[in-house]
């Protein structure tokens, strides 16, 4: 028997005509049941944004503020001739700024928070994105202020100063996202902090190599930044896809 013949045979098996009475009866039961179901109001993104911001621990806000002030202090204290030292110090502190945001995000993956959020009809993907957005906005503002202060103090090129500060920050975030995806539940704040310290220490060694901050190597920094942004986007995409798949499984296997 050929495939075409087999498919023709399969198609010859048509289901019986629908009994309209049964269908209408079913429809009536469903509509009645639905009228008794209370629909949850859709929360606007601004409300959700405010709500999630209020859940962030005050300690984290304090830490964020403290680290930002420390960075500003470094810029103001050091002499303007020590521009390489200022940049090295700042770029080794900035990965720690990322750990603060991630310690909040990891909360959704620990203590069965994921499972708790779903029965509460929260969308984990949405929550994760909103939390990331909150910290991304804050970190960008802090980085912007630090770049402007650095540029004003040392008088170096604004773009290169921004590059030197953004690249370590982006690369450290790629590492955090990778660890979050790779370790998931076993990922703790201590591991996160340890990772941040290792990255900070590594960047700290750059102070021994002032030649990497030379004007001729700016294109390398640009390439690294582009790769870093691409890697960060990819990591985020993979995490969100995984969450979506998990959610689908949870919703439908109930």
């Amino acid at each position: 028997m050929k495939k075409k013949e087999l498919i023709r045979l399969l198609k010859s098996n048509t289901p019986p005509q629908i009994d309209e009475c049964k269908k209408e009866q079913s429809k009536k039961i469903l509509c009645e049941a639905f009228s008794n179901i209370e629909l949850l109001p859709k929360i606007s993104y601004i409300t959700l944004f405010k709500q999630q911001a209020s859940f962030i621990s005050p300690y984290l806000w304090g830490l964020q503020g403290g680290l930002s002030l420390l960075c500003i202090g470094i810029i103001l204290t050091f002499d303007m001739k020590q521009d390489t030292l200022i940049i090295t110090l700042l770029s080794s502190i900035l990965p720690l700024l990322g750990t603060i945001g991630f310690s909040e995000i990891t909360k959704s993956f620990s203590y069965n928070m994921w499972e708790m959020e779903q029965p509460c009809l929260f969308n984990l993907k949405e929550i994760l994105l909103i939390k990331l957005l909150i910290f991304a906005v804050i970190d960008l503002v802090v980085l912007g202020i630090l770049t402007a202060l650095c540029w004003a103090k040392t008088g170096s090129n604004f773009v290169t100063t921004a590059l030197y500060l953004f690249v370590p920050f982006v690369l450290s975030n790629v590492c955090y996202l990778y660890l979050l995806r790779f370790l998931r539940k076993s990922y703790s704040n201590f591991m996160h902090l340890a990772c941040g310290l290792v990255i900070s220490a590594t960047i700290g060694t750059f102070s021994q190599m002032p030649e990497i901050y030379e004007q001729g190597l700016v294109w390398v920094w640009i390439i690294v930044l582009v790769i870093g942004i691409f890697a960060m986007g990819t990591e985020l995409y993979i995490i969100l896809k995984k969450i979506e798949k998990g959610e689908n499984l949870c919703w439908n296997l109930r």
Binding site: L10, P15, K27, C31, L39, K42, L121
Partner: protein, 210 residues
């Protein structure tokens, strides 16, 4: 020109006028509001509280889901129940549903509802005895015997192959859509369909279908 208009049938002219007017007003021939809402708009409006629109959604997909359940079970009475269960499960979580592809989503639920049914009944396959031969005889005039044998052969397939074959050849879905519904990769769906068809072929050849 005037003579041409005089020759027109007044009944036809009047009815054409009513049809055009209703079309412009967005109503159907019975005077009901024309339902040309797409799935996304429909879901959005249902979620915002227009619960009466659920009926339109049920009308739109009832037959597809019923057909799937029928091929899966071979029993029309059971299919009505499973179709209803599918929509029950859908309305339970409609508040949190974010629109993507409603048809695929409903099929995903239908697959799970059917699998849950078999699990609760502790059945691995649909029993051939479940297929109501009288129903085939009643509903089909000429080739009911062939249809019965095909359904019996289909019921002998393992669930995972049966799902893929039904969705591909009875619901005419794309391989990528089936992969999403079943939560597996595209190569897996292809191999399930291939193996399922081979098994069906062997079963039907045993029954002297050539």
């Amino acid at each position: 020109m005037k003579n041409n208009f005089k020759n027109l049938n007044p009944f036809l002219v009047k009815n054409s006028y009513i049809v055009c007017r209703r079309f412009l007003l967005g109503k159907d021939f019975l005077g009901k509001r024309w339902c040309n809402l797409n799935d996304k708009e429909l879901i959005k409006r249902i979620q915002s509280g227009e619960k009466e629109l659920l009926g339109i959604l049920i009308d739109r997909y009832y037959y597809d889901i019923y057909r799937f359940c029928y091929y899966k079970t071979g029993n029309s009475n059971l299919s009505y129940d499973l179709t209803q269960d599918t929509f029950f499960r859908f309305i339970k979580y409609i508040s949190s549903y974010t629109y993507k592809n409603l048809k695929s989503y409903l099929f995903t639920i239908a697959v799970n509802v059917c699998n849950d049914y078999f699990k609760n009944q502790k059945l691995v396959y649909t029993s051939v005895e479940d297929i109501d031969e009288a129903e085939f005889a009643f509903n089909k005039t000429s080739n009911f015997e062939i249809a019965y044998e095909v359904q019996a052969a289909l019921s002998k397939l393992p669930d995972f192959q049966k799902d893929a074959v039904i969705l591909r050849y009875y619901q005419d879905l794309k391989i990528s859509e089936i992969a999403k519904i079943l939560g597996v990769g595209i190569p897996t769906v292809k191999s399930r369909i291939y193996q399922g068809l081979n098994k069906l072929k062997k079963i039907l050849e045993k029954e002297d279908f050539n």
